[in-house]
């Protein structure tokens, strides 16, 4: 207790030096929590959007379908199995037929994936109802990114071309009935959605599907022969991997920042041990062991992190609260590689703040201890004479 009291007294005695160190460390503190919170928020936001718009509770893939191999697409269609058809009828699944094709916006050719989906489905958050509420012979739904790259707008007519199940070319004029605003680029870029029944009829693939997405709350999807079930863990793995990769980059940046703050602590400790040699000799002469002196000096250094945490909390808490509540615009948009939307809402959990505080305290304590090792070799007589460091 005496050591703690002495440490606090010395810290206060250092005056402006203590506060400068604490402020520098608090910046690192806040930046680390902010970065981690941003990554957590990014991950959560992207996962939530992907589940809501694309993956639901998982997807059945026709056995020949491989989302990572576009060459499989030609054969990846089969009649929807009765078990999945029943789920679809109960509103718990949405069969999707995928056919490779092209569109010709404004006289330019653009290869796309034509995706047929039931306009009445509620399994994913796609605004498919727009495909039903129209008298158009071939209504089309596209995303904002496809609209931007093709220059298509609601009401525009565009020719759609594809090969049917037998390989014969077919083409029709369709009309864009809705442009969906979605943060999920994987349901948007290079994709054109249309009513499932219409695509099945046009492609000569009656009753067939490529993917069947099940509802989020469907806990026990049945095993179906000829179809593989891909759960959310599998479907989100790429996204998680991508966030992880970006997190590594951030960790490097924060490590540099943190090291700079630690350098300040280290320098302070080195200077402190040098300037306070007489005090160290006096304390040892008065009966303190070398270990107790080392503990006192280390504690002085480590207490900087507590001060930094308090300081960081003072200006960081309102900032984090505001960011978590209101979000902030993310520069770069789709360049992040996954769905973020217009705003990013960071997530600052108690666990994140606590673990960061403990980590910063431990690292600061370690850095503060390093220069004090010299005290162990110090002779009290030399120290009292101002020598020996």
């Amino acid at each position: 207790m005496t050591i703690l009291k002495l440490a606090i007294r010395n810290l206060r005695g250092a005056g402006i030096r203590t506060w400068l160190n604490a402020v520098a460390l608090s910046f690192a503190f806040v930046a680390i929590i902010f970065g981690q919170g941003m990554m957590q928020g990014m991950n959560k936001q992207a996962e939530d959007a992907s589940v809501a718009f694309e993956f639901g509770g998982g997807q059945y893939w026709q056995k020949d379908y491989d989302a990572y191999d576009p060459l499989t697409l030609e054969d990846a269609h089969a009649p929807t199995p009765s078990a999945l058809e029943s789920l679809a009828r109960a509103g718990k699944a949405a069969p999707i037929l995928v056919v490779a094709g092209s569109i010709y916006p404004h006289g330019r050719i653009k290869p796309v994936l034509l995706k047929g989906i039931d306009p009445a489905q509620k399994v994913v958050a796609l605004p498919t109802a727009a495909l039903a509420d129209t008298a158009e012979e071939l209504p089309l739904l596209i995303g904002n990114r496809t609209a931007a790259t093709t220059g298509l707008e609601v009401g525009d007519q565009v020719t759609v071309q594809w090969r049917d199940a037998d390989g014969a070319f077919d083409a029709r004029d369709g009309r864009v009935v809705e442009i969906m605003q979605t943060s999920v680029s994987t349901i948007d870029v290079g994709q054109v959605w249309m009513p499932l029944a219409r695509l099945r009829e046009l492609a000569g693939m009656e009753g067939e599907a490529t993917i069947v997405t099940v509802a989020k709350d469907e806990r026990k999807p049945p095993a179906v022969e000829g179809w593989s079930f891909r759960g959310p863990e599998f479907l989100l793995s790429d996204l998680r991997q991508m966030v992880k990769t970006k997190t590594v980059g951030q960790v490097i940046m924060f490590t540099v920042l943190f090291l700079l703050a630690m350098l300040a602590i280290f320098d302070t400790q080195v200077l402190s041990v040098f300037r306070r040699r007489r005090e160290i000799g006096m304390l040892i002469a008065l009966g303190m062991t070398r270990v107790q002196v080392i503990v006192m000096f280390t504690l002085e250094g480590a207490l900087h992190s507590i001060l930094a945490a308090v300081l960081g909390m003072a200006y960081g808490a309102p900032l984090f609260y505001s960011l978590q509540r209101n979000g902030f615009a993310v520069p770069g948009g789709d360049s992040w590689g996954f769905s973020l939307g217009d705003k990013l809402y960071p997530t600052f959990t108690a666990g994140l703040i606590l673990s960061t505080t403990v980590l910063v305290f431990l690292v600061t304590a370690f850095v503060a201890w390093l220069p004090t090792r010299k005290i162990a070799k110090l002779k009290p007589t030399d120290a009292l004479a101002g020598r020996g460091t």
């Binding site: 490779a100 290869p111 020719t159 049917d164 037998d166 083409a171």
Partner: protein, 245 residues
Amino acid sequence: MRYWVYALCLSLCLCLAAEAPSGEWILNKVDENNYADTRIAVSEMVIHLTRNTRTVRAKSWVEGADKSFTEFLYPPRDAGTKMLKLGNELWVYTPSTDRTIKISGHMLRQSVMGSDLSYEDMMEDHKLIDQYYASVAGEDTVLGRKCWVVELTAKSTDVSYHSRKTWVDKERYVPLRENRYAKSGKLLKTTEVKSVSQHQGRWVADRVSFKDALKAGEGTEFVLDSIRFDVRIPDIIFSKASLRR
């Protein structure tokens, strides 16, 4: 008097019918003129892009309808690029990456070197008579030559173009104009022959304009430099090993 008019009309129709050969006969003649066991050709594709025009020169070795090998000679950027077609499969070798990739599925719909021709179009090399029913729809004049207008309808559902309309030179049996249609009847591709020349007794279109009817632009012009028919081609040419040679 009325019976005389009917009789005259009937006899005129019979005369015309006697003159017009059947669609199948015309197709046979077209195939006969067009198909050789083998052929080696050097040609250029003049691709009219939105802002500029580029020319690609290539040499092709073809055997029947299933084997073909093409090497691009010009421009320097594309020189050395090779394409090998064996049956329904197509491989492309690019020297810049030193890699051979198989083109299949929807990639076959991609344009070849930015032209109006897709890989699929380049692979289409079957005899028309094997794929289409034909009927003579009338007569017309194209390039100052009298032509039969022949309407083709696919014999099976797996033929790429469900129907075609082709203008066949009455004497040379060279299609001088062709429209290709989708199942829905929508016009997809047009071909317009600009000139024809004779090689080893066969009439060959040596300047042809291809156009993707759904795309804006001036299309792609195909210019034949030289062609030799029924030349022996070593088997090694039609092997994947030749792509890297």
